[in-house]
């Protein structure tokens, strides 16, 4: 591991980009640090006091110099800002059609669920060369999912979903760290991400499959919890029909428009009265305490699959992301079978 003594593995497409910016910063810092150090040492030696009563020259300042050493650093910082902001946008916006994996953090382990229903603890298997999007929630306190070799991390916060994404480029096993302090065994909340060639990954998926897919589990819950009584076309219109809603805007009773996304589905299950869709009575009971974080994710996966089903069958031309939807349904369908 000698090659890893000064820099971590760069095992994702993102890692290469982050390292470029990082080394630019290192270079700029080195130039300025050496400049200051040399000036201070040269001045300290060259102008060392020769006689006890010696005094310095009466120099009071210089506006051009002040402007020079305010504006040049600021200009360089603007480059850093733009580069960093561009990188951040890139690192936090998963491309459409990423393979989705659900992550639940709890003291002190990582529970991973693949769309095909494969479950892992403190292990994450991903294929090389394909963008992977993690949708992450927490059961208790704030955690943080950090893969140094991929240069990505995001806080995992109870009560909301955070996402992050990466494209692994080098097969291998890399650390997962929890990097937000979460209690006694914070430093034991570590795991491994295994990047595999697509063929190996397929083989792993097949060997690992058991139980239903995430969407199937969600569908079963949807029936068991009687969500279907109100939220399907057959129901008497007590609740909005969920087919084809995912990823669209819905209008609330207050007139506000919000996105029908993971966070909204979650909130509507746990705290149904908070944001009621226009035209419906706030009659839905809360499911707080009745569904676990993992079951929530299964329900969300199911509702999401209803959205894509509609987009496929109805071939809605204006559906958001329809241009890039070729990859997305393929992914969901494959694991759905």
């Amino acid at each position: 591991m000698l090659e890893n003594l000064l820099a971590p593995d760069a095992a994702s497409a993102q890692a290469v980009q982050v390292d470029a910016a990082f080394y630019f910063l290192v270079a700029v810092s080195a130039v300025f640090a050496i400049l200051i150090a040399v000036l201070v040492i040269v001045f300290a030696v060259k102008f060392h006091r020769k006689r006890p009563d010696e005094v310095g020259a009466p120099i009071h300042g210089s506006l051009p110099l002040e402007l020079l050493w305010s504006l040049i650093p600021f200009g360089i910082m603007l480059v850093m800002f733009v580069w960093g902001a561009w990188l951040f946008f890139h690192l936090t916006r998963p491309p459409k059609g990423s393979m989705e994996v659900y992550v639940v953090g709890k003291q002190w382990m990582w529970k991973i669920e693949h769309m095909g229903g494969q479950r892992e603890i403190n292990e994450l298997h991903v294929p090389v060369g394909r963008p992977v999007k993690l949708i992450m929630g927490s059961e208790d306190v704030i955690h943080d999912f950090f893969i140094p070799a991929f240069r990505v991390k995001a806080d995992v916060i109870p009560g909301r979903y955070n996402t992050m994404w990466f494209t692994a480029i080098k097969p291998g096993r890399y650390h997962i760290f929890c990097s937000q302090y979460c209690g006694t065994k914070h430093s034991a909340m570590i795991g491994w991400v295994t990047a595999m060639s697509p063929a190996d990954y397929q083989a792993w998926l097949t060997g690992k499959s058991g139980g239903g897919t995430l969407v199937q589990s969600g569908e079963k819950l949807f029936q068991d919890l009687s969500c279907s009584t109100c939220h399907t076309e057959a129901s008497s219109g007590r609740g909005p029909v969920l087919h084809g809603l995912y990823g669209k805007q819905v209008t609330l009773a207050t007139g506000e428009k919000i996105a029908f996304d993971d966070a909204y589905i979650r909130e509507s299950i746990l705290n149904p009265q908070a944001k009621v869709v226009a035209g419906f009575q706030p009659i839905m009971p809360t499911f707080q305490g009745l569904v676990s974080e993992e079951q929530l994710l299964q329900l969300i996966a199911y509702v999401k699959s209803l959205g894509t089903t509609q987009a496929d069958t109805g071939a809605a031309a204006g559906a958001p992301g329809s241009s890039s939807s070729a990859a997305a349904p393929a992914g969901t369908k494959k694991s759905g079978m």
């Binding site: 006091r49 120099i59 110099l65 910082m77 909301r160 209690g183």
Partner: protein
């Protein structure tokens, strides 16, 4: 005493009883009360740091269990931040020097000044009781919902201790602001103020406007934990990220509370030991205010990976770069001050030069964290630990030690053994770099902060760190020993041992109880060494 003449009456021999100290309203005696109590807290915080470093020698949790380790780093952070760094320079050097530097007999509210010391002691005692009756394991950041719902340590008591101590900061800041506005001697205009006063003033603004926000936030944490009012815990309908916003609204400016006074000290040191007035007085003075003001608007860079809106992140990122500009301006101005000066290499100047180097590295690595895309990787790793220790230990403590050496003859009337002081300064500089530079690398490699156990590939850097910390520790102990020794055995210093210019050097050492026999009349800026007042533009 075997001196031939009886020493003149000064603040030190003006009463010897315990009551004359514990009930004193003299800002100089209160400064010494702070000096003693702060040193005690520093020793305690340092002891915790020592245990942390020893535990991290090996990857496994073998010296202490993770639970104990978590309490150690929490107490190290709480004590060092709230009970050492924040009060260090303002409450000790600021208290002692501010009235003298502006030609006043005392601070505007001497009783309030004493009260703030008692509040500090009360807050410290409460926190120590929490520490020693079971400890607290939330980290000094008290992040909810861990602190409010999950941790089963003494969160309420520790938060109360920090809450109480906050009022000590507020009262000190209030006192300094009013004193600077209303107590200046005739002729001491704003642009004749010593730069140390400018930076103390800027610090006081943060004390006044920032501290109450952390106070109310910690109060809400305690109330949520004790009474289950749901403010931050999502299980009770709250928002944990709101806690982080409120926490960092104070705690980021708090970093400037620690570094601004040190910058003021370095401004004084560089001028005295270069025998030259500062280059660009107005720029150095106003950069302190700029840092204090912009510093209030950058807190969101602590939340880049917390799911904060990207656009908010953009604003916080650019403002974080902006706050680096006045810091850079200061560094360039200090360096330019040495140009064509008469530079001596006495121990306070060694600390100032060390500060310049370490603060520069600390500041530059701050840019990594302001760069959003790069922050994602290094956030919450040892890179951050190294960065803020370069600012707080390399910056604030170097400034504090430099100032203490510089003004020690004024405070006590005695010199100290210069060779030992030089040796200690070099030990501190070398030990510091060996401790914290490896942490930049191990952070970039991905080692997260607050880990009791870590994968074995990080061990080599941790061993280097621990070795450096031992040297650093020795470097801190030596001055404590020779300072205590100097109180009795060192030669008398005289009123102005450095040949410095400034009101504090025109009065005897130690100063008389009321500082000035007659109110001084100020006719020029401090540190005017050259006989002619011609202004030459470079």
């Amino acid at each position: 005493m075997d001196t031939v003449v009886t020493p003149p009456l000064n603040y030190l021999n003006d009463g010897y009883g315990l009551g004359s100290w514990l009930l004193t309203k003299d800002h100089k005696r209160i400064a010494l009360l702070y000096l003693v109590s702060i040193t005690a807290f520093f020793a305690l915080g340092g002891f915790f740091a020592l245990l942390i470093r020893l535990e991290l020698l090996t990857p496994a949790a073998d010296l202490v269990q993770p639970d104990t380790y978590n309490k150690l780093f929490t107490m190290h952070g709480v004590i060092m931040v709230f009970f050492f760094l924040i009060p260090s320079i303002p409450a000790v050097l600021g208290n002692f020097l501010l009235p003298i530097m502006i030609g006043a007999k005392d601070l505007a509210f001497p009783r309030l000044n004493l009260l703030s010391w008692y509040i500090y002691i009360l807050g410290g005692t409460v926190t120590l009781i929490a520490a020693f009756t079971g400890g607290i394991d939330t980290g000094w950041t008290f992040y909810a919902p861990y602190s409010t719902a999950s941790s089963n340590s003494h969160v309420i008591m520790a938060a109360s201790g920090v809450f109480i101590t906050g009022f000590s900061s507020i009262l000190t800041g209030l006192n300094f602001v009013v004193t600077t506005h209303r107590m200046r001697a005739p002729g001491m205009t704003w642009f004749r103020l010593p730069l140390f006063v400018w930076s103390t003033y800027a610090t006081s603004l943060i004390f006044i406007l920032g501290t109450p926000v952390i106070a109310i936030t910690l109060l809400l944490v305690a109330v949520e934990r004790g009474l289950h009012l749901g403010i931050f815990d999502p299980a009770l309908g709250g928002d944990p990220v709101l806690f982080q916003h409120l926490f960092w609204f104070y705690s980021h400016p708090a970093v400037y509370i620690m570094i601004l006074p040190a910058m003021g000290v370095v401004s004084e040191l560089v001028q005295t030991f270069s025998r030259k007035n500062v280059f660009g007085y107005a720029f150095v003075a106003f950069s302190s205010l700029a840092i204090a003001i912009i510093g209030f608007l950058v807190w969101g860079h602590h939340l880049f990976v917390a799911g904060q809106s990207t656009y908010a992140g953009l604003v916080f990122s650019i403002l974080s770069f902006l706050v680096a500009v006045p810091s850079a301006v200061k560094v360039f101005n200090w360096t330019a001050t040495m140009y064509k000066g008469s530079v001596s290499w006495e121990s306070p100047m060694l600390y100032a030069i060390g500060f310049l180097g370490l603060f520069t590295i600390g500041g530059l690595t701050g840019l990594f964290l302001a760069t959003m895309g790069v922050d994602i990787h290094v956030h919450d790793t040892y890179f951050v630990i190294a960065h803020f220790h370069y600012i707080m230990v390399g910056g604030a403590i170097m400034g504090y030690l430099g100032g203490l050496h510089y003004w020690w003859p004024k405070i006590t009337g005695r010199t100290y053994p210069e060779p030992w002081a030089k040796f200690a300064a070099l030990m501190v500089f070398a030990g510091f770099n060996l401790t914290f530079f490896p942490q930049f690398i191990v952070g970039y490699l991905g080692m997260p902060r607050r880990y009791a156990m870590y994968p074995p590939e990080f061990q080599v850097y941790n061993v280097l760190s621990t070795a450096g910390a031992s040297i650093l520790g020795v470097g801190y102990v030596i001055p404590i020993i020779y300072f205590i020794w100097s109180l009795k055995y060192a030669p008398l210093a005289g009123p102005n041992p450095w040949g410095a210019k400034g009101l504090e050097w025109e009065i005897p050492s130690p100063p008389p109880t009321h500082n000035f026999e007659v109110t001084p009349i100020v006719t020029e800026r401090t540190h005017q060494y050259a006989p002619s007042q011609e202004v030459r533009i470079v």
